[in-house]
Amino acid sequence: MADSAVSPTLRHPAFVRVTHWVTVLAFAALVLSGVEILISHPRFYWGDTGHSGMPALFQLPIPASRGHVPTGFKTVLPDQNGWSRSLHFEAAWLVVFAGVVYGFVGLASRHFQRQLVPAAADLRGSALSRALLAHLRFAKPEADYNVLQRLAYLSVIFVAFPLMIWTGLAMSPAIVSLFPSAMAVFGGHQSARTLHFFGFGLLMLFLVAHVAMVIRAGFRQRVVAMITGVR
């Protein structure tokens, strides 16, 4: 009680808490369904075209759920694409809604400026390297978001998630018919798919780092704070 009384601005605002947990739910569904979709063709290409009869840019060392994919494995996994695709897009809608609410309220309430945009002084080389060294020494995180944390949150929210949506939509033939050039900018359908996969990798890295830092900062307390708002 003392904490929140002293510094009420340090509480997680309700819109952050709600959109955070909605995104957690949707992200879990996106990862699960995305992996299921991926195993129907765990090969990647660059450009407009790519298929089982073409050399791959790279391929994952796993069996596929389709017999025609040259994986090197005899096993053919069960086909789960139907529900996976529907779940993927339903969860993507949920993320889009959460993102729109978060973006609007965050801008209107100056949450981004106050909590996420780093101070100019913190972006100087010396300050950045100090923060990085403290981070590498596993220094206990401070109450306020540090500069690395701010940059990580900003890049996930304003770069990684929008790019995932963009590369995802670039794989939709109907959306490509609407915005041909905005979708061709990635180099074609297969390039967009490959970048979507790299984006998934980056988001998983963020997830691991994020959860690790939450554990370091006190898992129970941090999770309760993100539920009740009291930090």
Binding site: I37, L38, S40, H41, R43, D48, T49, G50, H51, S52, G53, M54, R66, G67, H68, N81, G82, W83, R85, S86, L87, F89, E90, A91, A92, W93, L169, M171, S172, P173, A174, I175, V176, S177, L178, P180, M183, A184, H189, Q190, R193
Partner: protein, 245 residues
């Protein structure tokens, strides 16, 4: 229970009821505007309906991306199909001269076309990408009769809302709304990269819907039905009915 929480409970209840009524009204309005997919039911209805509504609002008249001739895939990939049926083999032995495409349902003049009939109709071509829901894709030149032209010949009635099409292979079918059925790039294809459409790509006749994924481009079609509603079995299935994404 103190009065404040009771008031909160009542207002929450009222808000929920208003929200539900609002959603129902929105769904009715969307249906009226042709923005609701045929009812598939189930947990994924919200996502599938939002996708369909958004894409119908944005892409009613857009054209699928077309490619240059030099972008055609050198080795287009024929997705494996079930083995040829006896009927297919019999028709193939006769060079498909006995292949018939029946068009019926909500039309003024039900008609049956032979391959020669279809090939004598004005043809359109497009060099488009076939994108499979599995993730792979290739580019080919598809040539055939626009479905819109066939619908004009048979006199599709104004109450038509969907076109369903069936394969000679049991259990293969597809259906599209009138936006896609009347779309200039939707073709009943008989020619693939300048030659007769081969078996692996759905020859002798394949429905080609380039703004949707490959599973709506049904192979070996011999039957088209114009309808005002789809049977539940034609909508339900493992895969979303609408495949624009």
């Amino acid at each position: 229970m103190n009065p404040l929480s009771r008031r909160k409970l009542i207002s929450t209840g009222l808000a929920t009821a208003a929200g539900a009524a609002g959603l129902a009204t929105a769904a009715r309005l969307a249906d009226h505007a042709g923005l609701m997919p045929p009812p598939q039911g189930g947990f994924y209805t919200p996502g599938d309906s939002l996708t369909y509504a958004a894409q119908r609002l944005l892409t009613r008249h857009t054209l699928a991306r077309e490619f240059r001739r030099d972008q055609i895939s050198p080795k287009p990939f024929p997705n494996p199909t079930s083995p040829k049926s006896d009927e297919y083999k019999r028709l193939e032995a006769g060079s498909f001269t006995d292949w018939r495409l029946t068009v019926e349902g909500l039309v003024e003049r039900p008609m049956t076309f032979s391959l020669a009939d279809l090939k004598s109709l004005p043809a359109r071509s497009n060099i488009t990408s076939l994108v499979c829901e599995e993730g792979w894709s290739y580019i080919a030149e598809w040539t055939g009769v626009p479905l819109s032209l066939v619908l004009e010949r048979v006199g599709a009635l104004p109450q038509a809302r969907y076109v369903a099409y069936y394969s000679i292979q049991q259990g293969w079918d597809g259906s599209i709304d009138m936006d896609d059925a009347l779309h200039p790039q939707t073709l009943i294809t008989h020619t693939f990269n300048g030659a007769d459409l081969p078996y692996g790509h759905g020859g002798p006749l394949r429905m080609r819907v380039p703004r949707q994924l490959g599973y709506k481009s049904v192979k070996f079609i011999n039957h088209i039905r114009v309808v005002d509603h789809l049977k539940p079995a034609e909508v339900a299935g493992d895969y979303s009915w609408y495949a624009g994404i």
